[in-house]
């Protein structure tokens, strides 16, 4: 057989047809041009496939760093494989009756990291994918993934987020490395370096940023300024004060916010001066007078002249001033001992809601537990209706230490039931302290006895599945069948099943 004819010739003939081009190869007797072409093409194809040789290797990735931590125990490894595969499975394919394991992943990760395990190598892509989709998983997933996870993330642009998520508890970067990455790295890597430096050596981090400040793009400047929140101190004030005159509006607003969080800053003093002109207590009542204008100095300090649509300009400026004034100013100004007394004071002219709303924002922003506690009030007091302007008990609650949060939420549920409790429970850390879980389970049993429907409590039920102490499973089982609609039996069975599964998952991590 003549195989001298080239493959491109054969393809060209096939495209145009042997009827037009004839056969590029001789025909055997009894064979037409098309068959001769096919014969020759078959020889070419098989010869090429059989004769394929390796190609030239491209640049191999560098070696992954070692991870001396022990691997997950076998049962826990199978568990994680199952959770990650479930996630990768078809959307909506989840069985309604079973628990959503992905919801349990955050606490599973926390427990696994508490034991000091590393994930097996083949689990790393699944972990990185899961944490890419859900930012809340990132610190836990990246800790479990360890140095090899970061090594892998560098190879896949889809996992770039991992490079800008600073490793919790990771070592500080060496000065030379930090400088080099800052000068040459991708945005994600530069962010990670700055964030890590700020945790270990805030001044070095600020110096790094100041060194290149003039040449950074506006959106990068805003992102980097935001990272100064970590390790923020009076030493940062000169830098932030100069950022108040930045060309970018976002940079200016962020700088003002950070300066307001520094009680000794010049901005805090300027705000305090404005607050002094607006709020006083000449008699038993607190009197409030909103500013009449927003001057250039106020605008420079981060107060925008135009309120969000629908608000009154004076109230808006007042709110911003009070919100950015250090909370420590108020007891002295109002002639009281502390936050609780200040909150209890009557306010003239219907300005109480404005004043309290601004204090709430200030307490949340500065994470001031004393003010948050005072503004929350006792858990047994009638709950604030949802959507009340400016008052957000769940955000205030999130400022309190975890144990106090759980205790407050437990008393709230015991006093008021579950109908207003969802957002409060959502800010309590998992696993819930025993009394909180007990209060929620008791309230669910009470709701069943009152003839409610379980789907009215599906949000709380979901939280309880994830957060209640697994020991509550026994109390649920002990509650027995109720008098109400039968759906409760199913709902309680699901809750109990998930609690027992969580206990099992934790035991698997014991090894």
């Amino acid at each position: 057989m003549d195989t001298d004819v080239s493959w491109p010739d054969l393809v060209a003939t096939a495209l145009l047809g042997t009827g037009r081009r004839g056969s590029p190869v001789p025909c055997r007797p009894g064979q037409d041009a098309a068959q001769a072409l096919l014969d020759a093409a078959a020889v070419h194809t098989v010869r090429r496939r059989a004769g394929a040789l390796p190609g030239r290797a491209r640049r191999r990735p560098g070696p992954a760093p070692d991870d001396p931590r022990p691997p997950l125990p076998p049962a826990a490894r199978r568990r994680l494989t199952g959770i990650l595969d479930d996630r990768a499975g078809p959307a909506g394919g989840r069985r309604a009756a079973g628990p959503d394991l992905v919801e349990l992943l955050p606490q599973w990760l926390a427990a696994a990291n508490g034991h000091g395990y590393r994930a097996q190598d083949e689990l790393l892509p699944g972990l990185l994918d899961a944490a890419r989709a859900r930012t809340g998983l990132r610190p836990g997933a990246l800790t479990l993934a360890g140095p090899r996870g970061l090594w892998l993330a560098r190879l896949n642009p889809q996992w770039a987020y991992a490079l800008r998520t600073p490793a919790p508890g990771g070592p500080p970067p060496a000065p030379g490395d930090a400088q080099r990455t800052w000068a040459e790295g991708l945005f994600a890597e530069r962010s990670a370096v700055l964030a890590t430096l700020r945790r270990h050596d805030p001044a070095a981090g600020r110096a790094l940023l100041a060194g290149t400040w003039a040449t950074e793009r506006a959106e990068d400047r805003a992102a980097f300024v935001g990272l100064l929140r970590e390790g923020l101190s009076a030493a940062d004030e000169p830098f932030l004060e100069q950022a108040l005159d930045d060309r970018s509006r976002d940079v200016r607003a962020l700088a003002a916010e950070l300066l307001a969080a520094l009680p000794g800053s010049a901005l805090a003093a300027r705000m305090t001066g404005r607050a002094r002109r607006c709020v006083s207590r000449p008699g038993p009542l607190v009197t409030v007078e909103a500013p009449h204008a927003c001057d250039a100095a106020m605008r420079r300090d981060g107060i925008s002249a135009d309120p969000p649509s629908g608000s009154d300009r004076g109230s808006w400026w007042l709110g911003r001033i009070v919100e950015m004034t250090p909370l420590g100013f108020w007891p002295g100004r109002l002639g009281v001992a502390g936050a609780a007394d200040a909150v209890a004071l009557p306010v003239a002219g219907g300005r109480r809601a404005d004043l309290h709303a601004a204090w709430c924002r200030a307490a949340v922003r500065s994470r001031d537990a004393e003010w948050a506690r005072a503004l929350l009030g006792p858990a047994t007091a009638p709950p604030v209706p949802d959507g009340s302007p400016g008052r957000d008990p769940a955000r205030l609650l999130s400022v309190l230490p975890p144990s106090e949060r759980a205790a407050w939420a437990g008393r709230f549920v015991a006093a008021h039931g579950l109908s207003e409790a969802f957002r409060l429970l959502a800010v309590c850390e998992a696993p819930w302290a025993r009394p909180l879980g007990r209060a929620v389970v008791d309230a669910l049993v009470a709701a069943r006895e009152a003839g409610g429907y379980p789907w009215s409590f599906s949000g709380v039920m979901g939280l309880a599945e994830r957060c209640a102490d697994p020991a509550e499973a026994d109390r649920l089982a002990g509650a027995g069948p109720g008098p109400g609609p039968d759906h409760w039996t199913e709902a309680f069975a699901r809750l109990e099943g998930t609690l027992r599964l969580r206990a099992l998952m934790m035991r698997e991590l014991e090894g």
């Binding site: 393809v11 098309a34 093409a41 496939r49 190598d121 083949e122 892509p125 896949n156």
Partner: protein, 337 residues
Amino acid sequence: MGASTVGGMNRQGERGAGAPQAARRRAEARAGRIAAGVTELERRLADLLHGGFASAAQGGRGPWQETAARMVDAQAPGLAASVRELGATAAVGADWPARLLERCALLHLLGQAYLRVDRLPEGLAATVRSRVGVAVDTAALAESVPPLRDHWLVLSQRDGGDGRLATRRIWLHGRETGRTALLLSYGGGGRAPELSLDVGLGLDADLLFHPAARPLRATLAARHAAPVRRSAPPPGGDTAAALRAYGEALRDDPWLDSWPVVLRDVVPVPDPRLGWQLADARGDSAISVDARCDDRRGLWQLAAVSGGGPVTVFGECGHRGFLPLAVWGEELVPLRV
């Protein structure tokens, strides 16, 4: 190949329904229908090449569907599947005329082989019949081939197939014989295939290899002991050896798309843009990874297990590149490709 086995399952009930003569008459009648189908397919291929791909491409998929239906009528489901693949290749993607010509040429080669099947060596004849779509009667296999007992290591289990029929491919490797075997299992109507073997299990069992020029496909027969976990890799070679193994297999079965191989000491080179490679740890040779599994999680698992160092990988090496199916890390790890 897949379609042929389904036909076989459907016909298993006929076995033993009549005297041996009746069975032979049926087989002969079927062979005649297939031969007529092959002749018709050859004519259609010749017409296609006479008129040229360019003018045929304007006809859309209709003519291909029609030809595939004729092959089903001729009881040659293997040919029907190949014709549908021709239809899917025509005018699709870059370089389609070259790929279409390859497929047409190999289909022509199969047709020519079938028309001479009685004169072919026994193994090659079995390969040709099975590729055309004459199923091996797995129930009768035990009477015609000797069982091969070994300690079979489960290398990979991978599900695929279209919406109607799930196909599970399980690769085994025999510790003593060094043979590699492919078990196929099917599940229709949304059910998972019945046979399931955990990767890393070792089975002391009999296999019945289906007759072929290069026997690979097998049926699991008697198991002699409970499975044990073991994972020592079979002997392997470098990238050149893998391509050579595929080339040598093509000598016996030119229609093979790939051949199972173990690559020893290769480093995965991830490159989402240019395509992945597996590079020899020593030297500068590399084999490209089958582009169809680009960016699947399995490739990243492979990279993670390697950590930039050399690993041993099992997979299918073929003209589309290398499809990695399992890697030896701390133990044998199946890859989700």
